[in-house]
């Protein structure tokens, strides 16, 4: 007998001796890990928020695109996150959004549009609403390394029905137990025994949290033991509110490709496109129902099962008094309302996200970017991006010889700020691989010529827009190689032509003869000053664009020109805010006046002339309205690359097209790239160009095409700008001797 007692004591001692350290360790681990836990949150990248105000140029379709990009849905605007469109009138219930400098609460506004312009923005009661900002579209995420997507929400910000409802369904004793609920366990065991299968889990919310946070999903006794010990430990150390908040943010609610959706904050955005505060009772019930098995009750893959589960959850809400019968009936009748797959998957902004990542990596380490819940505010304009994608796809289909032969890229910039509004690197917007907008280095052709002319015009004592240039056969000796003999596109020479004509008609021979006057080192220096590295090939064919640049670099070259002489680096990011809302990186607008303001203004006049009278004149019939476009075409040898660069008051657009294999593609600047550009700019809200001319620019009548001063009454008289003092001194014979040449009144274009 004594032996048996000793044996029992020995076994007990052994158990206590072994278990006590394990329990002690589990207890310590649970407490420590919960205290030190850091939720990984995806860093989110946002488009620029749309500023809505009366007078804004914006079509109704574009507003629709903006609203949907911002996550709003067509529906009953009584509910946050929904809008109703009636023709040109929109009733919008904007969700709240934490902008970096202020939090904007949810609000309801009415917007009326007419003729591609916002007529009024008013409050629900009809009074003017002033300036309103739409929440920005979410373009994508920089996922944490564990691929868990989460939007952290504090307990106070969850809707009360969700907080009480989850307890009613998952753990009714939550407020009373100490981590485990023996009664619940027995009840579940009894129910399971009666049904002969597992129909109820007896785990408390705390146990489920422990399982999600620390343990593997296997169903073993050892795991159950660990779970119970750790649950009790958490309850001993932390408040119910802490535990519930952690649970609501941690619980697994489905899969988006390789990314796991954790927590109700993200699930609400993912399945319904609204912030968690905007969830309706039936939506809350659906999500709570998914806790039991996110895949089994998935509302898209298994809608019937999900619907039944939702009804079960709603009836639990009803029987516990969380909702009344009317709400139950109403909620139960509603469809599942889950967003379509296309809506749920964030729209593919691969090329732009690529650019954002590259710009971020200049300033941040990868591990500081991922999983830290940063919010990155960028410059992308979702409606303009949509137009750019469509213009490239449609435009190429119209101009190519064989279907699918051509590729292309578009860079669209707001010139004054240097902010990139759209970026397309593939004609198929869904496909993202090689980012042609950033990485396709292609021969630029005549797109470079304006910079040769700029160098010349910056020497007003030598050149002006009427300077005669010789467009004739040239033979330039090249050390160790055959002499170089540039030819014109049409194979003809045009003799003496005014400088502005040579620029507008893109004459090669005249440009090379001008280039020889200003020198290659000067050209390369200028390109570097404008922020682009052109390489170091000293061959004079560079005057005709035999250097390779990316569409982005070409946009950078033209930015200062389009911004009337103020250069700024092109950028995709405005601000980076950390998870607590503190700005950790600002990328403010910075501008630097470039020298030779006058030369830039003269060149601007020349590029307007290229559109009205030169190689880009087809723009006049390709666009519905010409708002005063300045532009330059570019075509490279054997028609391999086609470019068009054009700008208006508000936009600078670069279009490149060609074949990926560099083979002759039968393209031309005016015939292939310009139509794409015109289609894009026709769809954009553009305003009439009106520029200011530098003080030192003066206007004179000249006797076209001779570099002679004239009077307005001379038959060929044209008004031409000159840097003060650089105008010709000889008078045209078309004037009587007694007449004095007259200064032309200033013109604006």
């Amino acid at each position: 007998m004594r032996l048996i007692v000793y044996f029992i004591l020995f076994v007990l001692g052994l158990l206590v001796g072994l278990l006590a350290p394990i329990v002690w360790w589990l207890d310590r681990e649970a407490g420590q890990r919960f205290t030190e836990r850091q939720w990984t949150q995806a860093s989110r990248v946002y488009a620029r928020p749309l500023e809505l105000y009366a007078g804004l140029g914006l079509g109704a379709e574009d507003l629709g695109v903006e609203l949907e990009s911002a996550g709003l849905q067509s529906g009953n605007p009584a509910q946050v996150g929904y809008f109703a469109r009636n023709g040109q009138r929109f009733d919008i219930h904007l969700p709240g959004f934490a902008f970096p400098e202020e939090t904007q609460p949810a609000r309801r506004i009415l917007v009326e549009i007419s003729n591609r312009q916002v007529l009024s923005v008013s409050q629900a009661n009809g009074s003017p609403a002033g300036l309103q900002r739409l929440p920005p579209a979410e373009l994508g995420t920089l996922m944490p390394l564990d691929d868990r997507d989460r939007t952290l929400v504090s307990l106070a910000d969850f809707p009360p029905l969700l907080v009480t409802g989850i307890q009613a369904v998952e753990d009714r004793q939550f407020n009373h137990h100490h981590g485990i609920d023996p009664r619940g366990l027995i009840r579940a065991a009894w129910a399971n025994m009666r049904r002969g299968e597992v129909v109820q889990g007896g785990s408390t919310i705390t146990q489920q949290l422990v399982k999600n946070l620390y343990l593997t999903p296997d169903r073993s006794l050892v795991r159950k033991f660990n779970e119970a010990v750790m649950a009790i430990s958490l309850e001993r150390r932390f408040s119910k509110a802490d535990i519930l908040e952690a649970y609501l943010n941690e619980v697994y609610l489905g899969q988006d490709g390789a990314t796991a959706i954790h927590g109700f904050g993200r699930a609400s955005e993912y399945y319904f496109g609204v912030p968690v505060q905007g969830l309706a009772p039936e939506q809350i019930a659906l999500l709570i129902g998914m806790v039991r098995g996110a895949s089994w009750y998935h509302p898209v893959r298994n809608p019937t099962r999900a619907g039944e589960r939702r009804e079960r959850v709603l009836s639990m809400f009803l029987e516990t008094g969380l909702i009344d019968r009317a709400t139950f009936e109403q909620a139960n009748r509603r469809d599942l309302q889950v967003r379509s797959r296309q809506q749920r998957r964030s729209r593919n902004h691969g090329e732009f996200m690529d650019l954002v990542s590259r710009q971020l990596r200049q300033d941040y380490r990868d591990r500081d970017l991922r999983g830290t819940g940063l919010r990155i505010f960028t410059t992308l304009d979702p409606a303009a991006q949509r137009h750019a994608e469509q213009a490239l796809a449609n435009g190429l289909a119209k101009v190519e010889r064989n279907a699918g032969e051509l590729q292309g890229a578009i860079v669209l910039v707001e010139p004054a700020s240097g902010e990139i509004r759209a970026l397309v690197g593939d004609r198929n917007p869904g496909r993202f691989g090689f980012n042609r907008a950033l990485d396709a280095r292609r021969s630029v052709g005549s797109v470079i010529k304006p910079f040769v002319y700029l160098l010349a015009l910056a020497q007003p004592e030598r050149f002006h827009l009427m300077s005669p240039l010789y467009d004739g056969p040239l033979s330039i000796p090249i050390a160790g190689r055959e002499p170089w003999q540039p030819r014109n596109y049409d194979g003809e020479s045009h003799g003496d032509v005014p400088l502005i004509e040579a620029l507008a008609m893109s004459y090669n021979q005249a440009t090379v003869s001008l280039g020889l006057e200003v020198g290659l080192p000067g050209l390369f220096r200028l390109l570097r000053q404008l922020g682009v590295e052109p390489g170091s090939d000293p061959h004079p064919s560079a005057y005709l664009g035999a250097i390779s640049l990316t569409p982005m670099q070409v946009a950078q070259l033209y930015q200062a020109l389009a911004a009337e002489g103020y250069s700024t680096p092109l950028r995709a990011i405005n601000q980076v805010v950390d998870a607590r809302g503190q700005a950790i990186g600002r990328y403010p607008m910075r501008m630097r006046p470039v020298r030779d303001h006058e030369a830039l203004a003269l060149l601007d006049f020349g590029l307007r002339y290229a559109v009205t009278n030169g190689t880009a004149r087809s723009l006049s019939w390709r666009m519905r309205n010409d708002p005063g476009v300045r532009g330059k075409t570019g075509t490279t040898n054997d028609r391999r690359d086609a470019w068009f660069v054009g700008y208006t008051r508000d936009w600078l657009g670069v279009v490149w097209t060609g074949r990926d294999d560099h083979a002759p593609a039968g393209v031309s600047g005016a015939g292939s790239a310009l139509p794409v550009w015109a289609e894009l700019f026709d769809a954009l809200p553009v305003r009439e160009y009106s520029r200011s001319w530098p003080e030192a620019i003066e206007w004179f009548w000249v006797d076209w095409p001779s570099p002679l001063l004239a009077g307005e009454e001379c038959p060929e008289a044209r008004a031409m700008p000159f840097t003060a003092g650089s105008q010709p001194s000889t008078t045209s014979p078309c004037m009587n001797n007694s007449e004095t040449p007259r200064r032309a009144r200033g013109r604006r274009q």
Partner: protein, 177 residues
């Protein structure tokens, strides 16, 4: 040979400026400077006309976009609260709406002065001058800002030129009949 004065009356016909207000020496319609900010000393030197030089000559007041006005008013408030970063952000928003508003550009230049960002102060003031009326009070603020910013960058000759150019902003209004 044709010689013309640098200042041209044609500027007055610029279609950007819908309202041209001629203020006489009393300058009843002059710009109302906001309350000085914490570091407002520098800014105030730019904004306020010298005590013995009330706003004089031709004044030009462009018509404003209401959204831009809302943002600039908020920027003035932020400035009064001493929050220049916020003021700059609000003005950036205004410039995204209207990148060529000379008043907003000059306001930004003055915020940059307050932030001791001299090169940007000069750039914004220069841009404001380029797209602005080039006469009157705004013109004077443009050149005062440029003079001050250049001085702070120890470019004394350039600063001197800016002060000389400032004098040309004082164009007398055309006589009334």
């Amino acid at each position: 040979m044709i010689r013309t004065p640098v200042m041209c009356i044609r500027r007055l016909a610029l279609p950007v400026f819908v309202a041209v207000v001629v203020a006489l020496a009393l300058g009843a319609c002059g710009y109302q400077p906001p309350m000085p900010s914490e570091d407002g000393g520098t800014v105030e030197r730019v904004r306020a006309p010298a005590p013995d030089q009330p706003p004089a000559g031709l004044q030009v007041f462009p018509l404003r976009n209401a959204a831009v006005t809302e943002l600039t008013e908020a920027a003035h408030q932020a400035e009064r609260d001493g929050d220049l970063d916020r003021a700059a952000m609000l003005l950036e928003r205004a410039l995204r709406i209207e990148s060529r508003d000379p008043e907003v550009l000059q306001h930004m230049a003055e915020i940059k002065l307050g932030q001791a960002d001299w090169s940007q102060a000069e750039s914004y003031a220069s841009r404001s001058f380029d797209v602005g009326p080039r006469v009157g009070e705004l013109c004077q603020r443009n050149w005062r800002t440029m003079a001050l910013a250049r001085e702070r960058q120890a470019r004394h000759d350039d600063a001197h030129q800016a002060r000389e150019r400032l004098q040309a902003c004082r164009v007398e209004p055309p006589p009334r009949f």
